[in-house]
Amino acid sequence: MAQCGGVRVHQNQFIMSKKPTVQPALHKVIMVGSGGVGKSALTLQFMYDEFVEDYEPTKADSYRKKILLDGEDVQIDILDTAGQEDYAAIRDHYFRSGEGFLCIFSITEDESFQATQEFREQILRVKNDENIPFLLVGNKCDLEDKRKVSFQEASERARQWGVPYVETSAKTREHVDKVFFDLMREIRARKMEENKANNGRGKDRKKKSIKSFLFCYKH
């Protein structure tokens, strides 16, 4: 309810003042991981503070939410992708649009953890960028008794990749906001860097996003 109101306010603001700089920064986050690890559950918990018990495989869903990130209005665009194998070939298209990735596995399923390697490689290949904002997320940490992937094992892999590792529970909401916010901070930092680099080189390829970002930054 509060969320809806917030968005409406934003829309009205936007309609009233058509300057693009008023638009809050938009961070595009992509949820990746094998089928059934809880990508959609995490997304829905983050979006609506709800835990959805029913499992229905996702094809590709997008969500957008306006949030306050360190005192700054930003928009998060979450693309919840399909974990199922039959979509593997078209994942590239989704990955291209992402600015940051939450790579999720279930701590109760070793296979899903192994699959993260493949996802990581695919993302790096598509984005062609070693430093792309990326978080390794071990979900379902409430199910400690069914744990198959140890914290050490997972953090070791994250260390190798040079990315943070966080364990979450979509059910208890543990660390749910954290993973999204951490990732957005990374994306933001990344954009600032890029912006500087671009300014330095006098390029304004991403003029719009830079402008909006600058606006946010000044705030």
């Binding site: 638009q23 957008r64 078209i90 291209r96």
Partner: protein, 721 residues
Amino acid sequence: MGEPTLSLLGSSDFNPDKYVRELSLNFVGGLELARLRKKVHSLSEETSNNLKKNVYENYMQFIDTAKEISHLESEMYQLNHLLTEQKSLLNSLYNTSILGDDSLVVIEADFSKDDSEEKKEEIRKQKLLALKEKISGSSHLMDAPNRKVLYESYLTELDSIENTPLKSVYGVLLSDGILIANANFDDQESISLQFEIYYDLGSVAVVNVRDLGNVKQAFKLLAFPDSRIFQCKSSTVKKEWLDKLDQAKKERLSQEQNKKDVTLIDKSPSRSSSIDVPYINPFEEIDEEVSIHPEWFLEIPDELDVCVAQRHFEEALALLDKAKEYTVGYILTQNQDDHIFSDISRKVEQRKSTLIDVLMKELEVNHDKSLQGGLRAARRAVRLLNQLDRSMQSCELFLKLCSSMLKIQCKRVKREGSTSTYVRHLSSVVFTNMCHMTEEFLRAFPDSPSCASAYVVWASHELNLFTSHFIKQAFVPQTSLSTLTECIILVRGQCERLCKYGIDLCYQLDGSLRSPLTKALRDAKDKLIDSIKLRAQEDKWIPMNLKSKSALARLMQEYLDVGLLLNDYVTGDYWLQLTTNTVSFTKLFLKFLDDCLKLQTADLLHIIDETMYFVYDCLKLQTADLLHIIDETMYFVYEAQIKHVEHSLKNEKQLEQRQFMIKNADFLLNHLLNAVQKKYKDVNNFESPGLVKLKTENTAVLKGITATARNITKYSSTEYL
């Protein structure tokens, strides 16, 4: 706190409880309270009076406002009604789509392995065609074979960052991509669609937009580097889009991965589980199949489509032959046939029938089509159809084409000048064309007995058309026998041209001309007899005076040319011992004989005439029939003249005159008759039996005996047959 006043009670922060409490504190005793009560009461009355007064004062305003309110209510109601109407209209528009509301059914049908493949193909083409017309600039996309329309609807494109509506577009989901067309609402009624972009299905990713602030029913297309958001009109539309997109993508994926035919794919449009049997199983199986069939065989249906579309019919035919050869070889080596093989075979058959249809269309007689190219233009199609074992159809169409060409050619011949000129032109046109057509036909259909017989039937039919027209034009009472003879000879001569191709239609021509010719001969006979009788009445029986030697010499020469020596009849310088009547009869009869003999000659030419004489008596040949009529006619005409002589002789008592008459009769019965018989014999190899009879019957006249005493056996036609 004190006395209650209007301002106190009417103030905004007036609190009744507090006021009453304070009153009860300050005013003690019943009397005081009663006074206050009365005071409040009067205040209340005063207020209500004031209110009444106010109402009275603003009565009109009050009424107006009430009216205004009820007015507004009805307007609101109307608005609501209008909006409902609009909504239902839009709904029905959406449901109708541009291709009729059977789109869903068609899609379903496409996946169910129905055997009405051709029909579906037809529908597919129609749908694409409709789209092509509807969306300008999209034609290049619509010709691809196997492309299907899976879904289409109007969409609103949103700004991908700001979520505000950008423009209205028309989206079409094809089996291999997505077409976006800009919709321009240039005026209220018509919407023009302008092709904007085509995304290959493999290069786009679809995102279901679950939450985008207050934007509902949207989905996103990620086509790097574009990212576009489209908003649907309703949640059902969005669901359809997503389902169909998913379906198309999966199909495409399985096609690419497995190189496998579309039709095998699971029928259910919404597959959500990742464990789909057809996806996992086929790999090993498919690898075998792919290795079994060469690539060209798998691509042959598409190749054929391309060839037919580009009108490379020969190539298409070569491909068909190649496919046939392969098919036969494959069936021989492989006892069981796999589905790919049977599927391709079926498709090849389908393409074959398409090719045949296209070729038949080529040959069809079309009034809009110019026949300028003539039959040459038809050669290719005929040859190809023959190679496709469709010679009967091509033959039929070819002959139809010939007929219509012939008709057009005949119409160009104007009815002007004399009958014979017209007949000459017309017959020349008809038979020259028929000759050309025969040439073409023999060239196109050599060694094909069934086609040849069809051709004979056609030629006979065309000849009938021509003769009936010819009879109508030439056999009219105004036409003289000579003209008629000329025309008939012309036509026969033309008709004989066909003989060299092995088609002899002369008998048919004769057959159809026989009855009108007989009638014409009889008419001519009657005319001649009439004129003989007329001249007989005027006959003065005096020798002919030619008045000059040169005139006499000219006459003598003229008759010598036809085989009559008149020297015996010349007396004096320019007297001829024959009557004018005899001389003119001679002239007339010889001309008549000429015509008759010409007819006969023409008639008899195609019969080996040596045998004619011998079979004459026993066979009722058509020509003999005509000969008989000619004979009979000659007999009657000649007899009429002889009768005249005889009649005159009977009435003439003067010896000198009788001598003169006998001399005339002698000329007629000996000289002229001999000359006539000679001519007759030259043509027929025998003398005219009628005239022989005539001579024997009438020899008595030469001796001055009249026929009154004799009983002349009447000429009977049965005698000769």
